[in-house]
Assembly symmetry: C2
Homo-oligomer: 236 residues x 2
DNA sequence: AACTGACCGAAGAACCAATCTGGTCAGTCA
DNA sequence: TGACTGACCAGATTGGTTCTTCGGTCAGTT
């Protein structure tokens, strides 16, 4: 079987969103590009807002799926500085994810400001980050105990955010993306990880737990997507 | 003698800028608040843009003056994590500086986007940061050699920027300002400073050089302000 | 000589008619 | 029968026009 109808609609919506932004894209345009009638779109999503919300959710699901594969291939990728370095490069390579993380909200219009939509999206991310840190500390991959230091997620967020938002500002194009990713990794390794190199066993154990965490997160993300996305091999 | 006329105009412009933003404030309003005629404003500055540019320059000069005093009182304040912690708290306590650093550009309108104005302002800051880092490394207060690592200023900027910009986003009000400042300090100390505690002699030597650097910077800032600001005791 | 405020043109606000678009639903098609 | 469609509607948006405001000037006042 080829891609389902829902997927084709999401593909069309995603391409148009990338090229013209939420406001300039009409539901009719999306339908025509997907080769269907406008009414059909409303058989799958109750509103334009939900449709494009699904585009973002799918994008997130793709990212999590890919990171899952990366960690499976190399357990050392669980380490904060490796995971964030990977995420930085990956996100910067995706126009949509990039715009989302560099604060380029012109592309999204009301899509994010309208409450409820982006809310759940970010909350899931914050929760997952908290558990991620707990797993790392448990296996000696984090310098500070997240349970004893409630500011740790904030501190990590602050350390990472700068790299993303500087990408939006001009004058940061002086360096290659890989260099900036390395800079972020260096900062994170020193500021959040223990000075000693982790053992392969600890990495393996942490990776196993993280994979489980990501699989649950992925299940949650795909649950609000068309059914065909719930059959991903990673969920088994 | 009381405050000069130029100062009173800047005071009026600053208060109105803080309360209503660049676009909503008229030159006539500034003049009336300062108790003078509109034409008089144009005897001191050639345009509205330059007038409000001077407001920002004065704000910078105040910050540098204050930091100068802080470093004079305690040489340990030259250390990256101390200096940035101080700057973070100080800037967040000043509505104008805060808006400038949290990306709240609604307050500034064309004031920053119009080329040439903000350009020089930020360039001076970048140059000074570069020299600041060189001084620190010279006295063993920095883990990496800025001369060998051209990305260091970028890396520091990225690490600091996040703290400022998270202040603009909602949901960061969960923690006290002092806690967030401490978080920033911790990240910076670990990511940029050597693991060993610096000697008082090194701090003293670095502080002396930094004070000199700041005095030159201050002279540069006040040179584009009305003459009365050039007589600051710190410039002697 | 320092200062002022009436005045000018350009930029922006306010208004309104014409157009567009999110969402619905009666009807078509397979 | 049920998946699908596109004409239709009301509310939002746009574009064009008029009216107002404001940055900057300068002849005149103090």
């Amino acid at each position: 079987m080829g891609p389902g109808k829902a997927s084709r609609i999401l593909d069309a919506a995603e391409a148009l969103l990338r090229d013209f932004g939420y406001r300039k894209v009409t539901v009719d345009e999306v339908a025509r590009r997907a080769g269907i009638g406008k009414g059909t779109v409303y058989l799958y999503w109750p509103s334009k807002l939900e449709l494009f919300g699904a585009v973002l959710t799918r994008q997130s699901a793709e990212l999590v799926t890919k990171q899952l594969a990366v960690v499976r291939a190399d357990p050392a990728e669980v380490r904060v500085h490796r995971a964030m370095r990977w995420a930085f490069v990956e996100i910067m390579g995706r126009p949509l994810a990039r715009a989302l993380h560099t604060g380029d909200y012109a592309m999204f219009g009301d899509l994010l400001t309208s409450d409820g939509n982006a809310g759940r999206f970010f909350v899931g991310k914050i929760e997952t980050t908290g558990r991620y840190l707990a797993i790392l500390y448990e296996h000696g991959l984090l310098a500070d105990d997240p349970a004893a230091d409630p500011l740790l997620p904030y501190r990590l967020s602050a350390a990472v955010t700068g790299s993303f938002l500087l990408e939006a500002a001009p004058g940061s194009a002086d360096f290659a993306l890989a260099q900036k990713a390395d800079a972020l990794a260096t900062t994170l390794r020193r500021a959040f990880e223990p000075p000693t190199e982790p053992s392969p066993a600890a990495l393996r154990a942490a990776a196993d737990e993280l994979i489980d965490l990501y699989r649950h997160w992925l299940a949650e993300l795909t649950s609000s997507l068309p059914a065909e996305y719930s059959h991903d091999a990673n969920l088994r």
